[in-house]
């Protein structure tokens, strides 16, 4: 199956974050993703990046589209503790008995079909999120 990939790297500054949303929107647009799904994708990336720890480096985002599936990989310096929790939560299934906690883990769980976390170097993580649209 054909796949298309777009990569963008931006300075780790708030003012450049909208560029990521526009690229995400551009890719979603070309795959006829509906507004509901597009907003989910953008919110997931926004929330993840709200937990970043800017160090003067770069944020890189790769969007890969294959059929109806979008893979979004974000690489940035992100809060260590959050990434550890994401790592655990990505392979766990929430149970009804657990208190429902609305944090980034829950947001990603609701907005995306799945995600995985990989530590690239000290403090710099790669978070790959997938969602099937349409």
């Amino acid at each position: 199956m054909d796949s298309d990939t777009v990569c963008i790297c931006i300075p780790d500054k708030e003012v450049f974050i909208p560029l990521l949303r526009l690229v995400l929107g551009g890719m979603a647009m070309r795959k006829n993703v509906c507004y509901d799904d597009l907003d989910d994708l953008q919110l997931a990336v926004d929330d993840l990046l709200a937990n970043r720890r800017p160090n003067g480096g770069q944020i890189c985002m790769t969007v890969r589209v294959e059929g109806c599936q979008l893979d979004i990989t974000v690489e940035a310096v992100i809060d260590d503790e959050l990434c550890k929790r994401l790592e655990v939560a990505s392979v766990e299934t929430a149970t009804e008995e657990e208190p429902a906690v609305l944090d980034t883990c829950r947001l990603l769980h609701s907005l995306m079909d799945g995600y995985e976390v990989q530590e690239l170097s000290a403090g710099r993580y790669s978070i790959r999120m997938t969602k099937t649209c349409g």
Partner: protein, 279 residues
């Protein structure tokens, strides 16, 4: 800004009491208006403003929970009242209160609009953003699904890139505001005000859940409901919009606003523990 500063002309404070003349407070509204417009009587104007200040206060209080001090809103609304009094034409056959209400509201909305945009966004994009809000709602009903960017572009007769830009420009808008962009014409904008007073039965469902974290108390009932439906019941924005009775774009804004509020509240806790907001 003080109310008195808006009147333009100095107020004559010399007493003009005449036992043979009725007190201003005893005069009819019609007579006060005649004195204002024919005799340019400042005291009559002041009297009429005073009589209508409760209306201004009442209207301002409707916006009380929207992030701006009520006193500021009363001052802004008072400007609308003064404009209404000065422009009122008795020959039109309507009551001053009928005429003044939209003018006062318009002034308050304009205030929120001006406060709302966090960064400079071209007016054309603001207008397209407002238009998209309605178009998304209409297309969702017509297509029975959430519209694509291409659907929206076709409906608005603009390019898909323009739609993306307009949607992005909406992020620059402070969602605490009542006004979500537009040309400033009261009839041509979508406003939260339109939904004030709407009740949603399902709020009780959310209230029954244990909101363990104080952060949740910072949110309005409707925001808690929307977060619950989206992140714990798995409903889509379109479904939530239909259920709560607001537009999909508005749901999106409220979700982002609520998450931002929670995030701000969470900062100290996150530093101490792994945290999270119980819902």
């Amino acid at each position: 800004m003080r109310l008195s500063e808006t009147w333009g002309r100095p107020v004559d404070t010399k007493p003009r009491w005449d036992p043979l003349q009725p007190q201003l407070s005893e005069l009819s509204e019609k007579e006060l208006l005649r004195r204002i417009h024919v005799e340019h009587d400042q005291e009559a104007r002041e009297e009429l403003i005073t009589r209508y200040l409760p209306l201004v206060r009442g209207l301002a209080r409707r916006f009380a929970s929207r992030g701006q001090p009520v006193e500021d809103l009363i001052q802004v609304g008072s400007i609308g009242l003064i404009k209404a009094i000065d422009r009122f034409d008795s020959e039109r056959g309507v009551e001053l209160s009928t005429y003044a209400t939209p003018t006062i509201m318009g002034e308050i909305k304009r205030y929120f609009r001006d406060k709302g945009w966090a960064v400079k966004v071209p007016r054309a994009l603001q207008d397209l953003n407002v238009k998209l809000n309605r178009v998304i709602e209409r297309l969702t009903a017509e297509l029975n699904r959430s519209p694509t960017i291409a659907d929206m572009a076709a409906a608005c007769e603009v390019s898909e890139e323009e739609v993306l830009e307009a949607l992005e420009s909406g992020r620059a808008y402070n969602s605490l505001s009542l006004y979500v962009g537009g040309s400033g014409d009261e009839d041509d904008s979508f406003e939260i005000l339109d939904y004030l007073g709407n009740e949603e039965g399902a709020y009780e469902v959310v209230e029954q859940r244990r909101f363990l974290a104080p952060a949740m108390e910072r949110l309005e009932e409707r925001e808690r409901l929307i977060l619950h439906l989206r992140f714990f019941e798995g409903m889509t924005q379109t479904q939530i919009a239909a259920r709560v009775g607001i537009s999909q774009m508005h749901v999106s804004r409220l979700i982002r606003k609520a998450i931002e509020v929670l995030r701000q509240e969470m900062v100290p806790e996150t530093e101490q523990s792994s945290g999270g907001v119980a819902a």
